[in-house]
């Protein structure tokens, strides 16, 4: 009989609302192996792992665990098959103790009464085994550091005797000293024959901990390689894989004078003494790792969070931006990072979403909305943005992610904002819609708007920005002009390497 992989996913297909997320993807991982799953945002890594864990149901394909065909149709099926996923957002009950969280799905071991001594002993045994015996099992989880919370989450997975552990960007929430601890745990688990699937964007990590790498692109397999046979450059090429000029349409914007100047901005721990300026017709990229304080900086500029100190000058005049209402009245608009939470009113008609920021211009005395004018404005925006909609009276939830993002964008085009902040504008958007969003950004810049674009995606930052500001731990690490923008420089600055 042929050798059996621990995890074998064959010919997996999955689409959401007609948009293919995975097309005939194959994936194998072995016991005692750390297998990286890589690809750009939207490449289908998370979708593939959610199918493995049973959080999504697949449209087509077969899953075998240890050679045995499994029907995984719910997260319970996934757990029973020995698969645990450590998501970025932990699934912990903060008010319960460490021991309770670790053994949450088997508190009484079948008995109606909990034997606390036994429970705590069991939990301690697992923590000891991981080398974290010093964590008090009676401590409430909310009092632990993020890194220790992650340890609890891993322990929970181990208490279920999981043979496959999926880490979804585990280091995104960790400080660098904590990362080393995590890598140690991963080594331990690997030594015990656990199959580890590791999703991450950070190349250095991949080369430090992973044995094999599978690269996905646009929902398809690119290749599976052994880590030691490949260089970082080759890996990046595999991931990006497409011609950058094709992705990023050319822009003919004339860069003019400074429109907004931010000086010595401070806001809590996340924003420390940040200064920058943006010009007419310019796209200023803001790059850095997750948690570098990019979103916080721009939220403070926009008045969404209260700043501690710092001055903002618009067209030469100092302004006090105390609320987002004030920001909008001064001509600043923002497209937030989390579309469903902050960007769109998901359960409201497209009409309401599109004119939310410009109702004042569309209404007369007594706040009476001029429907005819509103319809005209919406019609223009739908054409301009090429939004695919049935009717503007349908809820925003009926749209695909890309079209939702365009609707969220539309509300700023209808208003008269000259400075636009885009926070991860193409997150969770398919490639076609991405290019269209880039076109819209270009068009806005060509019309003289100043664009500030926060993005974690290297190709996007490189392809779109006239200038890039790189942040790390709340500070500006450096500024790169058009001819200096390269992946290497960006990584160096965001990792805190001093000299370029």
């Amino acid at each position: 009989m042929a050798y059996t992989h621990e995890v074998e996913m064959t010919d997996i297909c999955k689409s959401f609302g007609g948009i293919a997320a995975l097309e005939h993807v194959n994936f194998c991982a072995d016991r005692g192996e750390v297998h990286a799953l890589m690809g750009e945002n939207g490449a289908g890594k998370s979708t593939l792992m959610k199918i493995l864990a049973g959080a999504y149901s697949r449209d087509h394909g077969e899953i075998r665990i240890n050679g045995e065909k499994k029907e995984i149709n719910s997260t319970k099926d996934g757990r029973d098959a020995g698969i645990s996923v450590i998501y970025q957002e932990f699934a912990l009950a903060p008010h319960l103790t460490v021991a309770e969280n670790i053994l949450i799905d088997n508190l009484g071991e079948g008995k109606p009464v909990i034997d606390w001594n036994h429970l705590n002993r069991q939990a301690r045994k697992i923590l000891d085994w991981l080398g974290f015996g010093h964590i008090d099992v009676r401590e409430k989880v909310e009092n632990l550091s993020v890194a220790y919370q992650q340890v609890v989450e891993i322990s929970k997975a181990l208490s279920r005797n999981s043979s496959v552990l999926v880490f979804d960007e585990p280091t995104a929430v960790l400080a660098s000293s904590e990362e080393k601890q995590l890598f140690k745990i991963i080594e331990t688990l690997k030594g015990q024959g656990v199959c580890i699937i590791y999703i991450s964007h950070r190349l250095s990590e991949i080369f430090a901990v992973c044995d094999k790498i599978t690269v996905l692109k646009d929902g398809k397999n690119v290749d599976t390689v052994t880590t030691k046979d490949i260089t970082e450059e080759q890996l990046v090429k595999m991931m990006v894989g497409r011609d950058l000029t094709e992705m990023f349409p050319p822009r003919n914007a004339k860069i003019g004078g400074v429109t907004m100047k931010v000086e010595n901005l401070c806001c809590g721990k996340k924003v420390q003494d940040v200064s920058f300026e943006v010009r007419e017709g310019e796209v200023l990229g803001i790059n850095g790792l997750v948690g570098a304080g990019r979103t916080e900086t721009l939220r403070a500029v926009f008045g969404a969070d209260k700043k501690d100190s710092g001055t903002i000058t618009l067209g030469g005049t100092p302004v006090q931006i105390t609320s987002s209402k004030k920001a909008v009245s001064l001509g600043i608009g923002m497209l937030p990072e989390d579309r469903k939470k902050h960007g769109v009113l998901i359960n409201q008609p497209i009409r309401v979403n599109m004119t939310l920021a410009s109702l004042k211009e569309l209404s007369g005395a007594l706040g009476w909305i001029n429907r005819k004018k509103e319809d005209e404005v919406i019609g223009d925006l739908v054409d301009k943005l090429k939004i695919k909609i049935g009717s503007i009276e349908n809820d925003a939830s009926s749209l695909s992610g890309g079209n939702q993002q365009k609707v969220a964008l539309a509300k700023w085009l209808g208003s008269n904002c000259k400075i636009l902040i885009f926070d991860e504008p193409t997150r969770g958007v398919d490639v076609g819609a991405k290019v269209e969003i880039y076109r819209i950004i270009n068009q806005l810049a060509e019309e003289g708007a100043s664009i500030i674009m926060i993005s974690s995606e290297m190709p996007e930052i490189i392809g779109m920005s006239d200038r890039v500001l790189v942040m790390r731990e709340g500070k500006v690490m450096g500024e790169l002009n058009k001819n200096e923008i390269s992946e290497e420089n960006l990584i160096k600055l965001s990792m805190g390497v001093e000299n370029i």
Binding site: S323, S324, M334, H342, Q348, V352, L356, R371
Partner: protein, 335 residues
Amino acid sequence: MNTTGNTEMMEIKKKMTVKEFLIRYNAILILAALIIISAILSPVFLSTQNIFNLLRQNTPIMLIAMGMLLVVLTGGIDLSVGSIAAVAGMMISVSIVSWNWTTGFGIFMGVALTLIVGLALGAVNGAFIAFLRMPAFIVTLAMMTIGRGIAYLVTNGQPIRWPEGTGAQALLDFGSKGVGVVPWPVILGVAVLVVFWLLSKYTVFGRLVIATGSNQDAVTLAGINAKKYKFAVYAISGLMCALAGIVMTCRSGTGTPISGEGYELDAIAACVIGGASLSGGRGSVGGTIIGVLILALITNIMNLLSVPAYPQQIVKGIIILASVFVQSVSTKNQD
């Protein structure tokens, strides 16, 4: 073979649409069913007198439900409506009886003062909820108790009877007379409904109230002061309660501190039966009107049949449960 296949297909399609129809228009169907049942069970039901009586009796709750709808649209709740209505009833009575404000101008002042008191109590709710970010349930629960306390305190729990034949007669006439067969309170009620319908459908205020309830963060980030709208709906709710309190007292001619008890639950039930979501962002004036009428009809039909009060409550509860159940099924279908 082919034909049977087709008929089967058509039947399935038809079944689906019937189901969808039932889900979408469940409230109006329940109302229609209640009207038909009422008409069959009691010959008196469809008489002009009974119908206008029914409408007049339910004008106060209709007014309160409109204020409640705005609150519910923002994702809030107002438990203090019944108490504020009672305070208003006492306020207008005190102005007439104790202060002897019985001239035409006096009556006008009394009504204005009462409306201002309602508005102010509602504004207190709104300020705590919108600006101090306290939970609406708790704030309005406190106001419910405080308001009831004030209503009792005014006369130490005694009802105040309006004298007949004085200037207050105008108000009493408003409560008992009308234009032809249409009672004055009903005319007032219809006017208010039209205002609320226009408000919710065609104005920036209505649109932003709904948007705030749907996603306050997104509205704030669109450069809109969402708190202002949250505050305003409670103030308006207070105003509507005061108006309802005045209408109630005009009808009975007596200010009683116990009036309006339980109105908060009827008003919330009316909104919910009419399709409003308590988590905000969803609800309509039309639906709420139907909700009020359904609750009113249940009471009316059972009164006509001399069903005692206690079983009435059970039936009311079952209908609320059933309509919300149908809605939860329909939202699941959407997902």
